[in-house]
Symmetry: C2
Subunit: 664 residues, 2 copies
């Protein structure tokens, strides 16, 4: 008998179940019920005959006849038996066979991934389900219920020396009796009984949690199929203690006792979000057995109940940089009380577990091309490198890219200008606003924004505005708004000694002031200086590919970013959005144990550069203040901007809107 | 150089510290500070010279001169340096030496034990202290604080791959800074950081907890010295849900939601008792790092939050019979949040972790003589055997021995008659009462009991009364009170068709009724039948030694117990009290890790006999109803009782009283 695709082969006694044969050979065939025809996970395709000649199997041939149990499976609602397939726990060897194990019947199967994501995930979760039939309690053969459960797990699953979570002991006895001594056990890490349910059960869930300073995102995955079931996000309730990270740390410095409250609200917020994401799919939170958490160092510490005060000043010492396994109950998470939480390792004091998630999702360490991964927030986390070498730093960009410190700045929400086009000849402006799919010069625009109005400009909008102003000659390369153009257009508005540029005037006038331009220059210079520092340290002149991670990264247009010198030069088709790479990294670590070991090893290899103590950083920063790509010396970008925007079909833009709305 | 008493020897470079030399040879020398002359635990005695000729060391000889550091130790309050001794971390090898490591400088030293206890304890605790100097956080060499602590523990103590309790992370950073990067770490099981304190610290504590249905006892031990620091006891607050075990289980059967309350009160009770025992010695409960808990199966389950309902009926299934390690915080114990709790294994559904504690304390499995260990409560737990074979059962004696179901019965408390002597000629009665040290015919007796009065009779009193009545001929061998003696003494009082015997008449008349005698007969027959069942199963006719465990066991007089057939015949000098053996067992497991492994192995070897399903048990029970040893065929006992009680010096009795009062 030979199993495909592994090619493992062996001889077995007539009458051996295919599943047993597979087990003996170490062939990867899934089963939750342990061969009782309950789960339908062990389906295989059989062809018989002397090798290498194969014929489709016929009853009475080299395989036992199709059983009634299998027939019942043909019409099952879930995991029904496809034509030509057999349940390997029911079908028995009668002669030579070739058994093909389809991907969905393998435990360690590859999951299909979204296009934006780099790697495939091989399903290999920390917690698995095992159905067992336990010997009932017996007065004549006294033994504890747990010990009889352990005996059954050994006899039926070869699991030995299993520890038990203390929460399980509290309900083990009624569950065994309710299930009439048949139970499904969640086994964690091949070594611990994490939960027990009466009867047969074949679904448990895990959550990947990304705790951002602004939003918390949760992705609920089926741990048996690997499928992403549902996602959701909420505002981080810590916002009431301070909008950004540093204001929260300042709040704690002034009110040291408030750490507890900051921890409680974020733990509560995560719990509530998990509950709501689970409820939307009618899932019981007690079926959630695993969580993987990423977050920047301050979020990470506060989630664990650690005072982040040390991260507020040099030497920016983390309580721990290693990965952590904590019980969900110790973090007050309202999921199964035996559930465990894995926190990805941090890279350095400013480069947290979220960056580790980004690295894991993006895998620059597996490629030859030198990739720059940038995750922009109040701090930009920057990772640069390839399989030879990996460097990381954090650069203090400030909150300008998030719309703060900009006169008309606002969070990316309906009413915010997010796209800006400026005609270099007329200085006329076209805009797009979050909440509408139309450009401002298209018919119906006014109607389409009536519900939200035009209230300000968000991060991606201000970048396009500054870049557009520069390309149109409104800005000099050192970032001064050229008031001489007031003669040409009334969009230039005097403002004391400096000038502003009017983007829009309606109920509210939206201007880009000279100070706004300075803020963007400072922010982009900080980011660029960080990138330059890593490139200089790595001894390279250019990067092969750029990945922009995070919400901001998925909304900015690479061309504009390059125009103003936010990112270094790179082939335009090699600059792309990595989506929520931190969350993706968490999801990978949720579904694949090897990925946890991988990122734990990788982060230790990362060279951490501390911008605060690098003299070069200041130099790069000053050099990066100018706007680098003028119309004249970058005709490619100029050509794009000159033409009316027609590149993107309306449908695609609508899609993007919808996705973005969902994330909020 | 040679170390005594181990005899280990080796050659070392001139200038090597004795402590380092000892470490390299694997010689057991204690140190908490790791060789920094802070703890004073590494004291040794040195003699120099070529072997085998030894001379007391003189300065400038084979050993470095007495240092100033050591001189400062001569006048220290704690752990001062005795004359002739050296600190092995300060004294350095200059030539041939014989180094004697006194017992108190060894980690694994033997502790001196009380006479009542069988075994010596070798100190080998689960949790130990290590003082370390950690490299301060450094902007130029970024690393998490935990990682730097781990590095220090590896460099200074060779401890590798240490896990960390999540509670430690919450306070690690401020503690490191408060201690100016010197901290003392509690390491559990050589593999986990359980707690951290700023600076040098050399005391942590553990508690042995014995949860009885009636009382909870706590013994607070210094985990570094092994010393018993303080003990205390309180009533089990579950009593408000039912006096005895079965009434509590019935309460739960009727009010299933009350399990939580029963768990909460007992966890709270244990916490409160630990707090009060610690407070009496000015000890911070955060310095308590270990707890070991014993209790009968129902107490064990309720303490863990497990519904004990399965133990209320056949097949008496335990949730688990194995030992358990649980975090203190998961049991809501208010000790250090990183503390762990070890629960001894249970033997069987009726023979709990308390019996395992008794077995561990009594070690019948290490002896050739066949020992019977009896722990009498509402159920009597009986263990029989020697190194070849060990059997155990539980016998339903009922609460008569605890004073319940006896007409004038009461708990052993001031005012209770506890000793009874009956003159066989005159039928005159002498009694002793808890709260007084005088016999009732001694001068001053009335005065001595004025504060408490005479309110009833306790378990040991009723046994002496029944035995005395039998020996005096008031009772026939089948337990009938002989009314014909009414002609001889007015102590015989008619009571319908039966007779009672008056022990005392004062404010209250205290009688032993015919029914009281029947209750005692039933109880002692159940106990004896259990013993007989084990003896029959073991194929033996007699036991070599009897140990009576528990409060009741330490108060009953073996001679009376034997007279009425409570225990089988045995040489009187081989019958003794084992004291609170369950608590002693817990204390052994607290101080010695090998003992934990030992009892876990031993309980699995114990043959469990279930009295409820043994037909022989009923037969033995019926046979055991009679009173076996009459005056005529047991002259030895008779002789003792005839004489006025002079055997025990008054002082000794007073001692015993005082001890008993303390236990309440």
């Amino acid at each position: 008998m030979v199993f495909l695709p592994s090619g493992k082969r062996g001889s077995f006694a007539v009458g051996t179940a295919l599943l047993d044969a597979a087990r003996q050979l170490g062939v990867d065939v899934d089963s939750v019920c342990g061969g009782r025809a309950l789960c339908g996970r062990c389906q295989v395709l059989c062809v018989e005959g002397s090798f290498p000649k194969h014929n489709i199997v016929s009853d009475g041939g080299h395989l036992s006849p199709f059983s009634d149990t299998e027939r019942a499976y043909e019409t099952r609602r879930r995991r029904s038996l496809a034509t030509g397939r057999r349940l390997s726990c029911q079908a028995k060897v009668l002669g030579d066979l070739v058994v093909d194990v389809p991907a969905e019947s393998q435990v360690h199967r590859q999951l299909v991934r979204k296009k934006a994501e780099h790697r495939d995930i091989v399903l290999d979760t920390n917690t698995r389900l095992c159905f067992v039939e336990v010997a009932p309690a017996d007065l004549y053969n006294q033994k504890g219920d747990l010990e009889r459960l352990r005996d059954a797990l050994f006899a039926q699953w070869k699991l030995e020396d299993l520890a038990v979570d203390s929460s399980v002991l509290r309900y083990l006895q009624p569950v065994l009796r309710k299930g009439n001594w048949s139970v499904t056990v969640a086994i964690r890490g091949h070594k611990e009984i994490a939960a027990v349910w009466p009867g047969f059960k074949d679904t448990i869930y895990g959550v990947a949690v990304d705790i951002g300073s602004t939003t918390i995102a949760v992705h609920l995955c089926d741990l048996i199929s690997g499928e992403l079931f549902n996602s959701g996000g909420v505002m981080n309730p810590q916002i009431r203690f301070g909008e950004d990270l540093m204001s929260r740390v300042s709040h704690i410095m002034m009110h040291p006792e408030s750490v507890t409250a900051l921890t409680e609200v974020v733990q509560q917020g995560v719990s509530d979000l998990i509950a709501s994401v689970a409820k939307e799919k009618s899932i019981d939170v007690n079926d959630v057995l695993e969580a993987v958490v990423v977050g920047n160092p301050i979020m990470h510490h506060l989630f664990l109940g650690i005072d982040p005060i040390e991260l507020g000043g040099a030497p920016f010492a983390l309580a721990t940089e290693g990965s952590l396994n904590v019980l969900a109950r110790d973090l007050n998470l309202r999921i199964n009380q035996g559930a465990s939480v894995y926190l990805l390792p941090s890279v350095a004091g400013h480069v947290g577990a979220d960056s580790a998630g980004v690295i894991l999702a993006e895998e620059p360490y597996l490629r030859d091309e030198i990739t720059l991964v940038v995750d922009v927030g109040t701090n930009a986390e920057i990772v640069l490198g390839n399989r030879q070498r990996l460097l990381a730093c954090s650069s203090p960009t400030g909150p300008a890219f998030e719309g703060a410190q900009i006169s008309a700045g606002q969070r990316a929400a309906p009413g915010a200008i997010e796209r800006v086009r400026i005609d270099p000849d007329t200085l006329e402006v076209r805009i797009q606003v979050i909440g509408s799919t139309l450009w401002s010069d298209e018919q119906g625009f006014a109607e389409s924004i009536r519900h939200c109005g035009i209230t300000g400009i968000c991060g991606s909008g201000i970048i396009e505005a500054v870049a557009g102003m520069y390309l149109a000659g409104v800005l000099t390369s050192d970032g001064v708004i050229d008031g001489r153009l007031a003669a040409k257009s009334d969009r230039l508005v005097a403002d004391g000694r400096t000038w502003s540029f009017r983007l829009y005037s309606g109920a509210q006038e939206i201007l880009v002031t000279q100070n706004d331009v300075r803020q963007i220059q400072l922010a982009k210079a900080a980011l660029y200086a960080g990138v330059k520092l890593l490139m200089s340290r790595a001894g390279i002149e250019k990067v092969d590919a750029i990945r922009l991670a995070g919400a901001f990264g998925s909304h900015i247009d690479a061309r504009y970013a390059m125009t103003i010198g936010l990112i270094p030069d790179c082939k335009l088709d090699k600059v792309s959005s990595a989506g929520n790479a931190a969350g993706t990294g968490a999801r990978i670590a949720l579904l694949n144990m090897a990925a946890r070991r991988e990122i734990e090893t990788i982060v230790r290899r990362v060279e951490k550069i501390e911008t605060a103590i690098e003299p070069q950083f200041q130099q790069f920063f000053v050099e990066a203040m100018a706007l680098p790509h003028s119309v004249d010396n970058f005709p490619e970008l100029f050509a794009v901007f000159k033409r009316p925007e027609t590149g993107k079909p309306a449908e695609k833009t609508a899609d993007r809107r919808q996705r973005r709305r969902k994330q909020r």
